[in-house]
Symmetry: C2
Subunit: 308 residues, 2 copies
Amino acid sequence: MGQQAASIIVDWGTTSLRATLVTAEGQALDHLETQQGISVLAKGEHEKVLLETLQPWLTAHGALPIAALGMITSRNGWVEVDYVHCPAGLEELSHGTVTRTLPNGSQLVFLAGLTDPAGKPFADVMRGEETQVVGLGLASNRTVILPGTHSKWALVADGRIARFQTFVTGEIFSLLMNHSFIARGAANPPVEDAAAFRRGLKEAAGTGAMLSLLFSARTGGLAKEISADELRSYVSGLVIGQEFRQASEEGWFKAGDEVAIVGNDGLNGLYGVAASTFGLTVKEASGSEAIDGAIAILKAACDRHRDV
Amino acid sequence: MGQQAASIIVDWGTTSLRATLVTAEGQALDHLETQQGISVLAKGEHEKVLLETLQPWLTAHGALPIAALGMITSRNGWVEVDYVHCPAGLEELSHGTVTRTLPNGSQLVFLAGLTDPAGKPFADVMRGEETQVVGLGLASNRTVILPGTHSKWALVADGRIARFQTFVTGEIFSLLMNHSFIARGAANPPVEDAAAFRRGLKEAAGTGAMLSLLFSARTGGLAKEISADELRSYVSGLVIGQEFRQASEEGWFKAGDEVAIVGNDGLNGLYGVAASTFGLTVKEASGSEAIDGAIAILKAACDRHRDV
């Protein structure tokens, strides 16, 4: 019975649609991915595309609850879902979903993103990471780091996401490595170098002058201290190290704290090294937080829907 | 007699060659510009290109001292000139030049860049800005700001450039506006908005968390606080404001100080507004610092050469 399909989680972004067929316990039974992201779809096409894509599963298993998350819930997607406001837990996030019934009877539940009205200078936003935090669990008070293009630091307190803050670390790294004069000269194809990454972290920890620090990607080469093979990891250390230093100054942690690192962008290992460098201990995440969180919110939303 | 051609200043960079015919007092008599930057020239072509380009002036005025500066003195240029070390004034910079005599008898003097071995984490470098500081004058002790892709803050003390520090402000701005998700949505063609610039400065002054601050370029739009027309100037204010905040924390100034702002990148006005926001008074520069400095170093180098 543990193998019985219970729901479908659809991560529908700008460039792809990724669907997972899962059991009630969150075990993945099947997975599919297409390039039919929202950027190639016109208004009115979404339902047809979804039903065609999920056809084999819906035929085999009948109507199933379906959670849809990602940019599909944004202004440029299918159904724009308003952001839920912090503090928010399972109740608030499930209340913020938008549900429609598909022709075959499946409940399609669009998950909401989260906004922190206390963000400075403007209300901060996330879309998807709140689901991962729910999947990690809201029972323990803690700081959760979600590395990515736009990394999020979130505080779980009293069973809810109390507040969060965005750091655009991954985007700055990508800009520097792909388009800048500063990082010109990095080895191609890219090389990963753990020692150079730690060196970047160490330099980043020692200064608040980020705009000056980044120039060391060039002066390190001129000084023959950073080789072309080391440059990419060194710059990665600089920007991730700055994220931790700035988060520390913003009050997100002090040395000795435990944090959780959650995400699927392949960055958790690097962030773990950074956390250790800044004196933090790291709670291991399972890697299934996105699915687990979507199932939890989907279930709460369907239960609520049934009650009404 | 004030109109007599005394020397030629050649600013020879990656993508262009810009030459100015000047009097002994630094008055520009003529100017020419070509696209024969070093990126399109092979080793061995430089002398021929220079002589052809300057031919009309050399024919009219005979042999003249010629100062060459810019990337032409780098590894990828014509003659690689070693960096002069801080602290350095007119004597050290003229001593660091490399001179060769052209077939027509003209002294061609390659100006040296400057390095600050005390730079953290690696020795800092400039190539061209030191000439502008010389042109501004070394008699008064002061902080000089040279805005640009890689802005420089330099300290003049005891007649020499004592130290300097690079901030990659202009490059980060360009990356954000041309390639980032964060600043997507800015009006095109670009719009300048003085109030939005000041708003960016103010927000930048208030936080050390630059990686978080930059996300306000997006959240400001979502909050309908920053319009597409305002976005470019707002982001400009964010990054220039961060440069000033970080420079302040690095000890470059305190409120009430006077600074000089020197450069020809069209940024002096914005930097003047930023300086004012941070409580600084600004000494006006003439705009002729690059030519004046090159003439001063060229003269000192030629005098030295004559003495030997």
